[in-house]
């Protein structure tokens, strides 16, 4: 089941990436990493891929469970530092940045800081790194979260690490959310899921019924390209 879900998530993200644009991911981002590399193999060969290791359009031969690993330097002809990437975003030239959150709320706000009261948290989270900056500067934010339940997708996050304003979509194992008019709306439900599944696992009210479209399953071409890219199934590490 996890493989089916991870394939769907990588493919759904990859389809959103456009040729000729720039895309960036940070640490702990195996699904976006594979989505960018997959998009480059398919519809977006001229997508410029930059990441936290500082590589530009690398051709990694293998992956580790870390997406800050030097394996992502293979094939780069320059080192584009993290400061360079943030400057690029500030100049309006970073089209897509990928973010995740421990909690994501109905307005697309992301919490990576604390569960419970910020001053006396029940769980202290790792923090948002550059999230708050990128949500103000990147052209759009594509978010992903491999867990879709009502503790993750909440009415209101306990702490806003990064505001949701530029969030475009959130891809989960069950569906694609799109942020429209400041609200997360279900754009499509993955082919193996259903309206009740999405409703029962989301902590805010969602409009889904039998007329909600299904996400197109991965095509043969997409599946084959992904298998070739990631034979060791790094895409499962977040599940």
């Amino acid at each position: 089941m996890s493989l089916e879900q991870s394939n769907m998530m990588v493919v759904a993200l990859a389809r959103l990436l456009r040729d000729g644009e720039t895309a960036f991911h940070g640490v702990a981002s195996p699904i976006p990493m594979l989505a960018i590399l997959l998009a480059q193999k398919l519809q977006a060969p001229n997508l410029t891929y930059i990441n936290i290791t500082g590589s530009v359009n690398p051709s990694p031969a293998s992956f580790t469970s870390s997406t800050a690993d030097p394996v992502l330097l293979r094939g780069t002809a320059s080192i584009f530092t993290l400061a360079d990437a943030f400057d690029l975003a500030a100049r309006g030239k970073l089209d897509t940045a990928f973010l995740s959150g421990v909690q994501i709320d109905r307005h697309g706000n992301i919490n990576m800081s604390a569960i419970g009261d910020y001053a006396k948290p029940k769980v202290r989270l790792p923090g948002g790194a550059g999230s708050a900056f990128l949500t103000e500067t990147a052209g759009r934010i594509l978010a992903w979260r491999t867990r879709h339940d009502s503790k993750t997708f909440v009415d209101r996050v306990n702490f806003i690490t990064a505001a949701g304003a530029r969030l475009d979509r959130v891809i989960t194992p069950l569906c694609v959310f799109a942020l429209r008019d400041g609200e997360l709306k279900v754009e499509s439900i993955h082919y193996y899921s259903g309206p009740n599944d999405v409703k029962a696992n989301t902590g805010f009210e969602v409009q889904v019924d039998s007329s909600t479209p299904f996400t197109h399953p991965p095509t043969k071409e997409e599946t084959e390209a992904l298998d070739e890219l990631d034979p060791d199934l790094i895409r499962l590490v977040e599940f």
């Binding site: 290791t53 800050a68 030097p70």
Partner: protein, 125 residues
């Protein structure tokens, strides 16, 4: 002002090579390390290897952090363990798995850390 600049008292940065003055060379990714060095009041460089200054003078464009910003240099081979050091060695995945398991209880975590502080470095940790 939205966010005040962070000015750390100390930055500890591990690199592949440095000379005694603190001129430091990082191979591969720089992450936030250059900004950290510039932002901090004082910088400690730990390195895989201390090299003669002449080696760096021969190719100064390869130096990432100038020595005048650095207060101390420590030669510490494998000093980034259990994390990775550029392309010199990878992160210790087995260690992190063991850490995650130990960190589930205070008792196991205390024992685990005691073994590390006693110098154990093997995959058996």
């Amino acid at each position: 002002m939205a966010v005040r600049a962070i000015e750390p008292d100390w930055a500890l940065i591990h690199v592949e090579k440095a000379d005694k003055e603190g001129n430091a060379v990082m191979w591969g990714s720089k992450y936030d390390d250059l900004l950290l060095a510039k932002a901090s009041k004082q910088v400690i460089i730990t390195c895989e290897q201390v090299v003669p200054t002449e080696d760096l003078q021969a190719r100064p464009e390869g130096t990432d952090i100038p020595g005048f910003m650095v207060q101390a240099v420590v030669e510490a081979p494998r000093g980034a363990w259990p994390c990775s050091c550029g392309q010199t060695y990878p992160f210790d995945a087995e260690f992190f798995q063991a850490y995650l398991q130990a960190a589930a209880s205070d008792e196991n975590y205390t024992k685990f850390m005691a073994r590390i502080l006693a110098g154990e470095r093997g995959p058996v940790l």
